[in-house]
């Protein structure tokens, strides 16, 4: 039975990496049928697969189309397993408010970052795209977030990131939140200039950055 369980996790993980939505769905159903712990199946199966996909993305084996297909497979399994999660206290998850700045409706980068962060155990409050600077601050306060993650894909809208930081300062809550930024035209230089706490070049690195910003040990890099 134990062996069988591990085998299913491995297959679940593989189905995500191999972009096999149907397979992930069938395996998730099997997890439910065999009364295997759903949390473990997500952790060691689906999330593990998504982490591997993220690694392939970083290594430029996979690009956006492949990563999106992997996430589809992951979510198809997740939808089956989620209702079967037992209510276990896992402590408070770190919360991230994420969105694309006002004037910008390119949200593919934000969605990839959200996906990878979610897979890595963060709780995400997604404000969507075209988000006014003030809303980032308000929602971060309302949700008692740890991190504000801001994305912009256009040189014409990236300055709104600085506005978010200015509002945080004005409202004297700058120290309550870490601010991370990313997107096509954004660079480390720009992030430093506007006083952000961090910049990441892609979705995988965003996970490392977020973990670093909330002080989580980064020790789960052993998955081959």
């Amino acid at each position: 039975m134990t062996c069988n369980k591990e085998e299913i996790f491995k297959k679940l993980s593989d189905s995500v990496v191999n972009m096999e939505e149907e397979e992930a769905l069938d395996l998730a159903k099997k997890v439910v049928e065999e009364k295997i712990d759903a949390y473990e199946a997500i952790e060691k199966g689906l999330s593990d697969g998504m982490n591997r996909a993220g690694k392939l993305f970083e290594e430029e084996e996979y690009f956006v189309p492949e990563l999106l297909m992997c996430s589809d497979a992951m979510y198809s399994g997740l939808n089956i397993l989620k209702p079967h999660l037992k209510n276990v206290e896992n402590g408070r998850k770190s919360k991230i408010v994420i969105g694309v700045v006002e004037g910008d409706t390119h949200d593919i980068g934000k969605n990839l970052v959200k996906l990878m962060l979610e897979t890595s155990g963060f709780e995400i409050i997604d404000l969507g795209r075209d988000v006014p600077a003030q809303k980032f601050v308000d929602e971060a306060k309302n949700n008692d977030a740890d991190i504000i993650a801001i994305s912009s894909l256009m040189t014409t809208t990236m300055d709104i990131m600085e506005e978010v930081i200015k509002i945080l300062e004005k409202e004297k809550v700058r120290d309550s939140f870490k601010v991370m930024v990313g997107g096509g035209p954004i660079s480390k230089n720009f992030a430093d200039k506007i006083g952000a706490d961090g910049y990441s070049v892609n979705a995988s690195e965003a996970v490392r950055l977020a973990k670093h910003l909330v002080g989580v040990e980064i020790a789960d890099e052993v998955i081959a």
Partner: protein
């Protein structure tokens, strides 16, 4: 020896911006480094305190006048009258645009739900769009007033980017994996839309076209998908426009790190490829030398917007030298100019191109 140098100088003063660009596109020697802003429509109007919506509501004469006056200060070899308005082509087939005080208008929602819904769209009303009509007028005026000495160019999204605007980029991307045929049909449609749009401007007098295909970026798709999906449609559009007007100048701009695509670019058939800051120009020279012209590279934000004119100059000289300080390189920023890039910085870029002594 001295005589020939003086003669050379005299010839230099006779060669105007347009001739320099024409030579550059053919990779011929030019008396100085060719230089252009990359599109810069938003920059041009926003830096004059005018939103793109407002500019479109002005009399075409007045809008053309602002473009001309701005370029008198800048001296870009190419002027792009319809820059910033690419999405009007999407509006003309039923898209709803959001105009902003600053920046470019964006599309509110994808036009169709599924790739197979492409049949529901038609571009027969493209030339009835009031905004496009206005841009065509501006193009005509610019061609009349400065077209003898300046290259008037028009840009539009490349077919992959246009397709992404229509269906939503994520669906397009996933379609490349799971429904290649449907994506190809979708791109067939967007290529046709792209051609029809560009042809209107060629008829209005534009002498150069550019396809800006950010969704074909090396940061987004693999080389395999670039070959499968991007190359065929970019080639198709380029050939169609060249067939219509054989001496038309052609360019493609693709954002992001496209180093892995460089060896494929000459197969597209465009004269010039514009490169992002992420691509090393010496690598580009190595791969493209003798095959096609290339340009770009100055970081539009860190350099063009946030540096001092002195640092812009340094970065530009660095670009010339990395590109081999020879024919075939056109100086331009690595992507569209941010609206608040200082005029002094743009001037500094042009100054370098005008003063740098190419060793021939």
């Amino acid at each position: 020896m001295i005589g020939s140098e003086i003669k050379g100088l005299k010839e230099e003063s006779k060669v105007n911006s347009k001739e320099i660009i024409k030579k550059a596109l053919k990779r011929e020697k030019t008396p100085r480094v060719p230089v252009t802003i990359l599109s810069g429509g938003t920059w041009c109007f926003n830096s004059n305190g005018i939103s793109l919506k407002k500019a479109l509501e002005m009399k075409p004469d007045a809008a053309a006048d602002i473009i001309i006056k701005t370029n008198q200060k800048v001296n870009s070899d190419i002027v792009w009258p319809a820059s910033g308005y690419n999405n009007l082509a999407v509006q003309a087939i039923g898209g709803k645009l959001n105009f902003r005080e600053r920046g470019v208008p964006d599309i509110e929602e994808p036009l169709i739900e599924k790739l197979s819904d492409i049949d529901k769209l038609d571009f027969s009303k493209l030339n009835e769009d009031a905004g496009i009509k206005n841009l065509l007028e501006i193009t005509k005026i610019l061609e009349d007033k400065i077209g003898n000495e300046t290259m008037i160019a028009v840009s539009q999204w490349g077919p992959l980017t246009l397709a992404g605007q229509i269906i939503g980029i994520e669906k397009l991307m996933m379609g490349m994996v799971k429904d290649k045929q449907a994506v190809k049909e979708m791109i067939e449609f967007s290529s046709e839309l792209c051609c029809k749009y560009l042809e209107l401007f060629v008829d209005a007098g534009a002498e150069m076209i550019s396809l800006s295909d950010m969704s074909a970026s090396g940061d987004m798709i693999s080389k395999k998908f670039f070959e499968q999906f991007a190359i065929p449609c970019l080639t198709k559009v380029t050939n169609r426009i060249k067939k219509k007007k054989p001496d038309i100048g052609t360019m493609t701009h693709i954002c992001g790190n496209v180093t892995k695509f460089l060896d494929l670019y000459p197969t597209i058939g465009v004269d010039l490829i514009s490169l992002d800051a992420k691509v090393d120009l010496s690598t580009a020279r190595q791969i493209l030398d003798g095959k096609m012209a290339f340009g770009g590279n100055m970081n539009p934000v860190d350099i063009m917007k946030d540096s001092t004119p002195e640092d812009v100059k340094k970065a530009c000289i660095d670009c010339i030298e990395k590109s081999g300080a020879a024919e075939g390189y056109v100086m331009m920023p690595g992507c569209d100019l941010p609206p608040d890039a200082p005029l002094e910085n743009v001037k500094a870029m042009v100054d370098v191109a005008h003063s740098y002594k190419l060793v021939c």
